[in-house]
Amino acid sequence: MNLRPIHSAIGIAALALLSALGGCKHSQGGSTTTRTASFPSDDLIGAVPLGQVAGEPARVVTALSIDDPYHDNRQAIQQGKQLYISMNCAGCHAYNGKGNMGPDLTDAEWRYGGLPIQIYETIRDGRPQGMPAWGATLPPDEIWKLVAYIQSLGGTVSVSDYEHARQGDQPGEQVAPEAQADAQFAPTTPIFPASIPDTTQKPSSSPTPAKPGNRKP
């Protein structure tokens, strides 16, 4: 991706922009915030699925509980706010985050999850209905600053609720006994049909891919 911060007729603004954008490419180690923070590894982030884990309803994706290393860093939040403007997030989500072309980032409604790691993934990878992917433009520390800024707007999900948020639970809500996560009748293992008749005449190759669980003969 080729960033072109052209078109700033005002010299100072152009300079400021250039440095802001230049910083994107190789900014590790610039500010104190950058030096001290350590970021979740790509592997850890990769372990967070966008959807529910098929076949393993009870599996808890612990990676969801990873917090933004900057979540309580005021300086980083301020930098996140400036990135939010200079990267034109504000053009789509409004200067106050209340949304226009893109959705409201201050409310409790999250299409792709409101946990910090989920917001990180949304910004890094983009989303299909018009959210650009910023992973090629912004290094992890700047994306985390954006996440911290969005967290500061108040609508995100707290990491302590990472288990609840998936099923729309609210902290402190009452739960019917049958709906307890550890209720004995909750299905925990997949059940596949014992065998699927092989309609193809080929003797050696099976047309259906191998499935996990108890189906293997």
């Binding site: 700033s8 603004a13 922009l17 400036q82 403007i85 034109n88 200067y95 072309m101």
Partner: protein, 633 residues
């Protein structure tokens, strides 16, 4: 860049809600009582005619504006000032989508064509059968990405019919033609790259064998254009950009603008800082009209990008400009920039209604253009000379109009500059009137328009051009102008430049207008009132509250039963509803959205309503129409 000021977050509270006239948290009253003719104003322009030929057949509605002149006037008169109070719902249709419904349905050959906002589905409804069942459904499957690129909701402003084809633009920059009989795609032409932020929302306009289309994206730093495609093949015949060299703008020897400011070589580049014109917008997302005698088309271009004027010193031609072009070649004949160096996002895309008006004892061929900048222009459409320019809506950005240079005089106190909060600029970006098209009646010589009464506080924030993202920079808050009402329906005298009467509305008036030979004019409000008004006196004769806010365009047609029907889509959305926090425009009782197309008739009578229908032959028929498999996926 560091001292960025933010508007404090607005919390919903009843006390913030609107208008002084209504106490907070109570239901607003109907505005009917506010309808009164303006004192001393004449309700009529004698000797006015409309240059509308060729018209759609009287009982049909084949293009968004109904005619070349963009009058939205119908000669049908069964429904008139005497009986319009008996208007009732005859039938309804829901298309299953929830975004803003800005398009007028078409009626051709006893079939109604209804297009939805994204995903731009087109339905054909069979008006010969009871219940108006779906004949076919065309699903074009536009790219979902387009939804995030459209500034002002995922709207379309409708379809045009020509040569047995329905032609319209998809949000993802494709123009498609669909066979009206079968619902099969006839052709599809890719007109732009949605990843740059360009979208298409305007309704195509057909002149002969050419269909004219343009782009949207004045907030995205696009390079605006209008293009002509062959109706039968979809092949592009010419394209004229709104900025760039004379060659790119299709300016040649025939180009004779009236005013000195618009004369010169390559003004589409020289009125910009170096290269800024390349992302200078001037998109073409509004209406096109056509004069068959002069063989000229008329249309306007959008605001310049970015919306921070200090980043682009100069007049920024040819943005916020009305163009007259040769319909065959696309070569420009004249141009007139309504708002030079547009600082407020005023555009010039609003409709140009072609009328022949008696002015100073002479009948002049004019176009009437109620601009977003709040000036109502009457312009000689042969030469581009401004004959009349006067504010039709509340404004304070301009202190007057210099008729010599054809330029509004700007109040320097209302010029935004980066990082300075400027309060009380009127009108706001969406204008004294937005795209919602007005109508004109040859019986009164008046123009009927839904207008706004809105102001804004604005802070400019310098923007950088990052492809895929907005090139914008306008942080604003909008609220009602003095008077407290957000909307008004007016009758405008284009000869005198004066409002004849007005009906104030508490909520925004963002619908199209329909004028009829029954001397009834129709309009809707953003909170869902659909009204019929006496074209001469401005008296409200009938109203009904619909299931959602109205930003669609009313039409009228004759059924197979020779009855006159009125149709309107309710389905609020669009520019004024995209921001979640604009409670000044959308208080607590504003409609939540939704969609229904309503069709009205006197007493609600129709082939498919009233006693006996359940036993009619039509209704028990189980046979599929021949074209039943037109569905495409």
């Amino acid at each position: 860049m560091t001292a960025l000021s933010y508007p404090s977050r607005i919390k919903f509270a009843c006390s913030v809600v609107l208008i002084t006239a209504i106490s907070s948290c109570t239901r607003p009253q109907l505005p009917v009582s506010e309808s009164r003719p303006y004192e001393g104003a004449s309700g009529r322009v004698t000797g006015a005619t409309l240059n509308s030929a060729p018209n759609d057949p009287a009982g049909e509605w084949r293009s968004q504006a109904h005619d070349y002149a963009n009058t939205r006037y119908s000669t049908l008169d069964q429904i008139n000032t005497e009986n319009v109070a008996k208007l009732r719902v005859a039938w309804t249709f829901s298309d299953g989508t929830l975004n803003g419904h800005e398009a007028a349905p078409l009626v051709v050959d006893n079939t109604m064509y209804v297009v939805t906002p994204f995903p731009d589905i087109l339905y054909a409804l069979d008006l010969t059968r009871a219940g108006e069942p779906i004949k076919w459904t065309f699903k074009p499957n536009p790219a979902p990405m387009a939804k995030g690129k459209a500034c002002c909701d995922t709207v379309t402003r409708g379809v045009a019919y020509a040569n047995g084809k329905l032609i319209y633009n998809l949000l993802d920059d494709h123009t498609v033609a669909v066979d009206a009989k079968t619902g099969k795609e006839a052709w599809r032409t890719k007109m732009g790259n949605v990843e740059t932020g360009e979208t298409m929302t305007m309704a195509p306009f057909v002149v002969g064998n050419k269909v004219l289309v343009g782009d949207s994206g004045g907030e995205m730093g696009v390079w605006g254009w209008i293009a002509a495609l062959d109706v039968n093949s979809g092949k592009e015949l010419w394209r004229a950009y709104s900025t760039g060299s004379d060659q790119q703008v299709r300016i040649g020897d025939d180009f004779k603008p009236f005013y000195a400011r618009m004369k010169g070589k390559d003004l589409g580049t020289s009125t910009w800082p170096a290269d800024m014109w390349k992302h200078g917008a001037g998109s073409v997302w509004g209406w096109i009209s056509y004069d068959p005698q002069l063989n000229l088309i008329y249309y306007g271009t959008s605001n310049p990008s970015p919306r921070v004027p200090d980043q682009r010193p100069g007049d920024n031609l040819w943005t916020s400009t009305i163009f007259a072009r040769d319909a065959d070649t696309g070569m420009a004949r004249w141009a007139y920039q309504t708002t030079p160096h547009d600082r407020w996002d005023y555009d010039a895309v609003n409709e140009d209604i072609l009328m022949d008006l008696p002015i100073n004892g002479q009948v002049r061929k004019v176009l009437v253009h109620l601009d977003r900048n709040a000036y109502g222009y009457t312009i000689d459409r042969v030469t581009g000379e401004v004959l009349q320019a006067a504010p039709f809506a509340y404004q304070n950005w301009s202190t007057g109009f210099d008729m010599k240079t054809g330029t509004p005089i700007v109040d320097p106190d209302k010029e935004p500059h980066p990082n300075v909060k400027l309060v009380n600029v009127c009108p706001p970006d969406i204008g004294g009137k937005d795209w919602q098209p007005s109508a004109a009646s040859p019986r009164t010589g008046l123009v009927y328009a839904d207008i706004f009464n809105i102001c804004m506080d604005v802070t400019d924030i310098e923007a950088s051009y990052i492809p895929s993202s907005p090139f914008d920079g306008m942080d604003m808050k909008r609220y009602p102008a003095p008077g407290g009402n957000l909307g008004e329906f007016i009758a405008w005298n284009p000869v005198t430049g004066k409002k004849v009467w007005g009906i104030k509305e508490i909520y925004m008036t963002m619908s199209g207008v329909l004028a009829t030979a029954g001397d009834v004019v129709f309009y809707g409000t953003a909170d869902g009132w659909f009204r019929a008004v006496d074209a001469r006196s401005g008296k409200v004769l009938w109203s009904q509250k619909l299931g959602s806010g109205i930003i669609g365009q009313p039409i009228t047609f004759l059924g197979l039963d020779h009855r006159q029907y009125i149709a309107i889509s309710a389905g609020v959305g669009g520019a004024a509803t995209v921001r979640a926090d604009e409670i000044a425009l959308r208080p607590y009782d504003f409609p939540a959205g939704g969609n229904t197309l309503y069709v009205f008739s006197i007493n609600g009578d129709s082939m498919s309503s009233g006693p006996g229908q359940m036993t009619s032959k039509d209704n028990v028929s189980t046979t599929q129409p021949e074209t039943g498999n037109g569905t495409q996926h």
